[in-house]
Symmetry: C2
Subunit: 127 residues, 2 copies
């Protein structure tokens, strides 16, 4: 039986704009508030430019006792990053942490309820 | 009384990957299916790289009879594009089409229910 912790790692691209990276950190905080008891660990990492990078983010989760990791790509399109770069990093992490189970979630752009969420953004009247 | 049509214009960054731009077109189709009777016109445009560009997208809506436009930035972060580039294009469009009301919605990353949507993506068990 697996008695380790469950971790959710939100993976964003990373920006040269510090405030854009700060938005990801704020979203991680909101994820913690919204997740209830489902994940003992929720943190984020960046593919490029910003830190922590993805290997570091996975390492942090494992060091905190995670044995089941869900990696959630905060990307709108299934481009090269989502299709190739993130999976390659996860393969390396699986070799490094064979006792952990690392699952790659679908990217944000694939979520079926995205249209409803977008329509909520357009709820106001034109100014 | 305003008897013109209501239009929703989804604005994405635009990618060099045709399949990423095709994802935006598919999302526009899903928006049409999800919106019911709320918008008579739903289409998309790109800020850079891909076509149609934003002035063209607005022009298409106006040519189809839109007098109320909601412009919805399909962006995760409030970077330069969301803060400066898209609003500047909308100001130009307001001068060009003074009879139309053009409203800039919040960008996707600001939607309050985003954490719940992300948690749904992590609903599966690790493989």
């Amino acid at each position: 039986m697996n008695t380790g912790k469950r971790a959710l790692l939100l993976v964003a691209h990373g920006s040269r704009l510090p405030e854009a990276n700060a938005e990801v950190a704020q979203l991680t905080e909101r994820l913690r508030e919204a997740s209830g008891a489902r994940f003992e660990i929720i943190t984020h990492a960046f593919l490029e430019i910003a830190e922590p990078d993805i290997p570091t983010g996975i390492g942090v989760c494992v060091a905190q006792g995670a044995t089941q990791l869900w990696v959630l790509p905060y990307f709108l399109a299934a481009g090269r990053h989502v299709r190739d770069d993130v999976p390659a990093l996860l393969d390396q992490a699986r070799e490094r942490y064979p006792h952990a189970t690392i699952c790659l979630c679908e990217h944000l752009g694939a979520e079926a309820s995205l249209p409803e969420l977008l329509l909520r953004l357009a709820k106001g009247n034109p100014a």
